[in-house]
């Protein structure tokens, strides 16, 4: 028996079937959590915001166009929620010590990869919230400048300036001598 596609699950979710929406959450929770983690850099906050994202998405399910893909939509909802979260609380991010591990590589390569991704995450965490979200939408969600401008409701010129300045800061941060 083939697994139901997203569209069928979403139709069932609209009817109030929580199990169908639970399956949708299972399918997209990791990617949504990673969006939140890249922006918030704190596991507990990222998990809370990921859950909040799915609650919001459920509330807005009737406005979702079933012909579109659910994944990109819910990840955009997540990015916006994280931005609002950062702006509303003006949080001072406490960075997690947790770092990425890849068990398939040798211990030396794992340490190297963890250090590299740790540096990238630290560099991302040092960016102002608006820059972080623009980087997230461009580099991880593969959105165009125009789509980002629409999503964040900011001028195209701001998208470009945020993105270019963010990259400049990231480059300075990543390539600065220790």
């Amino acid at each position: 028996m083939t697994a139901p596609n997203d569209r069928d699950l979403l139709i069932n979710a609209r009817r109030g079937e929580s199990a169908a929406y639970g399956e949708i959450v299972t399918r997209y929770q990791t990617s949504v959590f990673n969006v939140c983690y890249r922006i918030l850099h704190n596991r507990a906050d990222a998990e809370d915001l990921a859950q909040e994202t799915f609650m919001r998405a459920y509330d807005r399910l009737h406005t979702f166009d079933l012909e579109r893909e659910f994944g990109p939509w819910v990840r955009r909802v997540a990015a916006n929620l994280c931005l609002n979260h950062l702006e509303s609380r003006k949080v001072t991010v406490e960075l997690d010590d947790e770092r990425d591990a890849d068990q398939s590589r040798s211990p030396e390569r794992q340490v190297e990869a963890k250090e590299r991704s740790g540096r990238v995450r630290d560099a991302l965490a040092s960016l102002p919230p608006h820059y972080r979200v623009v980087v997230e939408l461009r580099h991880y969600q593969d959105m165009t400048y125009g789509e980002i401008a629409d999503e964040l409701d900011i001028p195209l010129s701001d998208v470009k300036s945020h993105l270019f300045r963010a990259r400049k800061l990231l480059a300075e941060n990543l390539h600065a001598p220790d």
Binding site: G16, G22, S31, R116, V120, T144, F164
Partner: protein, 182 residues
């Protein structure tokens, strides 16, 4: 003249309208080619972040509120609102006719005893059974307009009853099929 940061960024983001000219310049300018390579390396570095695993299953934590009712399609909600408006208008228009029909019943209203009520019910039941012998719909004497030639008040009443049945059936069908029409 070297390429600007803006041009290099837009080029790598596939947002440049000037790709041919930029590529021509890059093929002959080592400095700009090196800057482009550095920017490309930064892109790779940013995008190479591995995905982290969740420490908890959000699907298990996600419990939709039990009082959340299934979301009806907007057109169905609008249909219900429209029907409510039409019903109010119909009641306003029907009031004089209903008063006309109920007049015989309300004219001789008294407070009866239980025995009288039972007797009345018994008589009404017998009359009701007898009425089947000569079914006749009441006359609408207070119509505000003249009925067209060939349309009696009986036909009008039967039409209204038919419309009510169609209306009821239509709503039953809409509610029954709403899930497959979402």
């Amino acid at each position: 003249m070297h390429l600007t940061e803006l041009q290099l960024n837009e080029y790598l983001d596939n947002e440049s309208d000037d790709r041919v000219r930029i590529e021509t310049h890059l093929s002959s300018c080592d400095e700009c080619a090196a800057r482009l390579a550095a920017l490309q390396a930064l892109f790779t570095e940013i995008e190479s972040l591995p995905e982290l695993k969740l420490s908890t299953d959000l699907a298990a934590r996600f419990v939709p509120s039990p009082n959340l009712s299934p979301q009806l399609p907007r057109w169905l909600t609008l249909t219900a609102a429209l029907q409510a408006v039409l019903a109010v208008v119909a009641i306003i228009f029907a009031a004089p006719f209903m008063a006309d029909l109920l007049a015989p019943l309300t004219a001789s209203r008294i407070v009866p005893s239980w025995a009288d009520v039972m007797l009345e019910l018994q008589i009404a039941f017998v009359v009701w059974l007898q009425s089947f012998q000569s079914i006749r719909l009441p006359e609408l004497s207070s119509l505000a307009f003249n009925l067209p030639q060939g349309i009696s008040s009986e036909i009008l009443i039967l039409s209204v009853i038919g419309l009510l049945f169609a209306w009821g059936f239509g709503n039953w069908w809409l509610l029954h099929k709403k899930n497959s029409l979402v």
